[in-house]
């Protein structure tokens, strides 16, 4: 089953590697992954879709939260969230197929982002299923090239961001209890 998770991540070197590393080392398959900066350039937002046994969903979130660079991990699978995907499609068009392609594009709300003598570049955005249907429809017109963005999601519930406060450096020191000697 697909699980959609949203991560707020510190923009630190290796953060992406840690996240994908934990997922793959536990044998969890990444279906899609997107990442980009947030308004705060020190943070990134990632949306990851994992193909996983529903029983493991909590484990995935806990494993993500355990990472020091992850500020917040949220399971959006069954919560109020908007999930969207974009596909860019290049399709060859002939005199016969041009109108058909444009009609289908219009039906799916796709935009023509490039038009040349031999074809179109189309941009389709929407829920993943709709994007898939669109791709299937266009495929009927001949060979196509597709690049999909993977899912981006935003939660529609406000969630409090719990962060650890700063602490004094070297406060713990290296002084643990000593064994009485014998």
């Amino acid at each position: 089953m697909l699980q959609t998770i949203s991560l707020l991540v510190e923009n630190k070197p290796g953060a992406l590697m840690r996240i994908t590393g934990v997922l793959s080392s536990r044998g969890w398959n990444i279906d899609s992954l997107t990442v980009a900066r947030t308004i705060d350039p020190a943070q990134s937002r990632m949306t990851i879709v994992v193909d996983i046994d529903p029983e493991l969903r909590r484990q995935v979130i806990k494993q993500m939260n355990k990472l020091i660079n992850v500020l917040q991990a949220t399971d959006l699978t069954e919560s109020l969230a908007v999930c969207r995907e974009m596909a860019l499609v290049r399709v060859r068009a002939t005199a016969e197929t041009r109108t058909g392609i444009l009609k289908d594009a219009e039906m799916y709300g796709a935009r023509v982002v490039d038009a040349t003598g031999d074809g179109f570049g189309l941009e389709c955005t929407g829920p993943a299923e709709k994007v898939e249907e669109f791709i299937d429809a266009i495929r009927n017109f001949g060979d196509i090239d597709v690049t999909r963005s993977g899912i981006v999601a935003v939660s529609m519930e406000s969630r409090k961001l719990r962060l650890a406060p700063p602490i004094p450096a070297a406060a713990a020191g290296n002084g643990a209890e000593e064994l009485p000697s014998c």
């Binding site: 020091i68 660079n69 650890a164």
Partner: protein, 574 residues
Amino acid sequence: MSNLMSGAKILIECLLRENVECMFGYPGGVTLPFYDVLFEGKVKHYLVRHEENACFAAEGYARSTGKVGVCCATSGPGATNLVTGLVDALMDSIPVVALTGQVTTKLIGSDAFQEADTFGITRACTKHNFLVKSPGDIPQAIHEAFYIAASGRPGPVLVDIPKDVFIGSAHYSPVSTIHLPGYKFSQEGHTGQIRRAAQMMWEANRPIVYAGGGIVAAGASDLLRELVEAIDAPTVCTLMGLGGLPSGHPNFISMPGMHGSYAANMAMTHADLIIGLGVRFDDRVTGRLDAFAPHARVIHVDIDPVEIGKNRVADLPIVGDVKRVLERMNRVVAELSPFQKERNAAARKAWKDQIAAWRAEHPLIPAVSDAEIKPQHLVREIDRVSGGEAIVCSDVGQHQMWGAQFLRFNRPRLWINSGGLGAMGFGLPSAIGAQVANPGRRVFALVGDGGFQMSIPELSTIASNRLPVKIVVMNNGYLGMVRQWQELFYNNRLSAVCLDSFPDAVKLAGAYGFPGRTVEDPKEIGQAIDEAVDYPGPYLLNVKVTPFECVYPMVPAGGAINEMVLGPPKPVAV
């Protein structure tokens, strides 16, 4: 006031601020600037003979004290040699900070001489790691590394430092704060849950406390004892938790699991309440999961939320530091005591009687013979001189399991071994770290003839530092644990397990300048152990034991823990 200092000097300042007294390491090209500063002797450096052993020694230091152990290696091969030790520390939640040199920043990514992607390689081997890009960033990275290593669920943290960062300078002023906004852990535990847990403990008819390495890590053994006595619950301690409750305590049964006692495994199987404290329901403890403790409700206290519900669903989870949780739990338990104590007294008594009966039915008794030295006999002799007070650093194999079965530990941090990873070659180097940290305490390295030969180079470290480690080789001439599995599950086809050509122990130890001895006669073993212990320095005791002994009880891989093989003749299903 700040002043200009080299990165290497800044690093030393930071280590001193973290109260680091010593470290274990091995130098190389890119760490030269750091070793040049170490020359000044502000932090004592122990030169090991292989980087893996630097990490194991740091672990021995950490495991025996609770302090952060520090190790150091050069780039490339030095760093890759650390990997086994880092994974070991990760599996057993041991606080270690590893410092590695890296090739000069400009050369990173050019496949330069002795370049390895240490940051990438150790991502999966550490709790967290850092690559420091400039001398000014060292303080932040080091203090964060120590904090991460020691706090929450402890673990290894690696800091990779390029050569030019050691050499370059920056204005050093001690950083006052560190901020890791994403590093959150709950310490206190949920009040309501703690109350409900105490209630469940009183209500249970057949409770059992299952205590693990978390008790040791948290320094919660006194609180564990208080709880166990208050609710009068039988208790098992895992391989990592031995000593968490003194072995001689009347409520202590033994270690549970694959080589646990009959009584411990039967008690786990028949309990109606398992009180898991700082444990992770590891497969070596639970055996086949779906048959594990089928009648029990589970209280699970751990600082790492990931562990809760990972293997066994917890009916009552409590995320928190087991010490803090027990402090409050014990108070609630005491509060409820007057109302609860008598209610199920009869059921409780029957439960204790049942456990006593299981113990009597199949006790853990060391085999002894007049003709040959039984391995169990050897362990008993170590136990005799230790009296539950010596540190015993074990390697991995049969000797380790017999150690866990027959050694007594009056307190935590005495039984030191590679639990989760089961890394051969751990025993001797970890004893180095333990002895360095505890100069006044007796330290044994209890090692197999296989594991010992993985660590022979460290005899040199022991000799040069005159560390009075008592090395006891349980020499059965085989990779005993693997041989046991071949005997039991592969028709005794002994493939690649025979260890002939063991070196002459007297000559070997003599070559390093300390005494050694080989014993074969069971009548001599007691005296030989005394001699080793009385000698004021390192000692190598090579004990030839019966080769074909197997460790029992044994739960075959994938079996339920109540389906133990109890002894050699034929499997007894219970």
